[in-house]
Symmetry: C2
Subunit: 153 residues, 2 copies
DNA sequence: TTGTTCATGTCAGTATTTTGACATGGCCAG
DNA sequence: CTGGCCATGTCAAAATACTGACATGAACAA
């Protein structure tokens, strides 16, 4: 037996919790909460962690680069970068050698702090991935990518 | 021919953009941006719209109820509710008849304002849904639900 | 060279959201 | 009846993020 009211994809369901947008928001909120909790014990915020991770993978990214990659404005990114700099986790040249962009790099302490939190963060990612059938993970990544592409201007 | 480096699900990929968490954040950021843009022309913010939608579906929700449903703190929810009340889109009894919770209801103008924006918002949801193969939409909803459930405490 | 255009970094101000704390009302075991 | 416990609403303060604006340097066309 099936549901008495078949889903009609051409129109949004009257139950908000069945909208893709709602579930997307819910999943992201849960992820944010779990990461906040995992990072709090290490004294880092989510944007700070994201920035460290990005810089470890691609050293020399500028503030504008990082802001785009972490989905915040340049201004917000700048605040995060200042915080990390004051904490001694990253360095930026005082003057730009080309244009105005100043490439950021992890310090030694930045690397060790990142390594210290990665286990906790990866455990969260792991919990997420294990919650869905393995053969669907790839499709999920593709679908999320398509969604983002369809909504970006 | 396939990729030279097969994915190893037991460990996070070194490319951050292939993490489920990253794509989730990206898709949600894109959704938020698209909704902001669609709602701006109508003078509403995303939390305000979400609150109106919820109240239309389940009249009488309290501030705490709405805060949970929109994934913000009670305090933030209260600010949104005050704004909507000042704008004349919702009403709340001055005194609670049972406990401390004061049930909120849409005003006539609240209903009309909501109806006016729904087309724009549903169009965004539509763009999202059309971006992925129809037979995968249901699976996507299930996966997102599982992710949220796995990360919530 | 000169002017235009664009991306970047940054300042100031505002808005939004969160954390922390507290008082109040209902519920229930004792 | 009473005390503990929990959910709710709300205040205050801090953190966080955004909008708007401006100056600077690079790239490019005329």
């Amino acid at each position: 037996m099936n549901k008495s009211v078949p889903t009609d994809p051409s129109r949004p369901a009257d139950d908000v919790t069945r909208h893709v947008g709602y579930q997307l928001k819910r999943a992201q909120a849960a992820l944010r909460g779990a990461m906040d909790k995992a990072l709090r014990e290490h004294g880092l915020t989510v944007p700070q962690y994201s920035t460290l991770e990005l810089l470890a993978l691609r050293p020399g990214m500028s503030n504008a680069d990082l802001a785009r990659a972490t989905f915040v404005t340049r201004q917000s990114g700048n605040v995060v970068l200042r915080g990390l700099q004051e904490a001694g986790l990253i360095t930026r040249p005082a003057t730009a050698d080309h244009g105005r962009s100043r490439p950021a790099h992890l310090t030694a302490e930045g690397h060790t702090r990142l390594a210290a939190v990665q286990a906790a963060v990866y455990a969260v990612e792991q919990r997420m991935v294990e919650a869905i059938p393995p053969q669907r993970v790839e499709a999920l990544l593709i679908d999320l990518d398509r969604i983002a592409a369809a909504l970006e201007d």
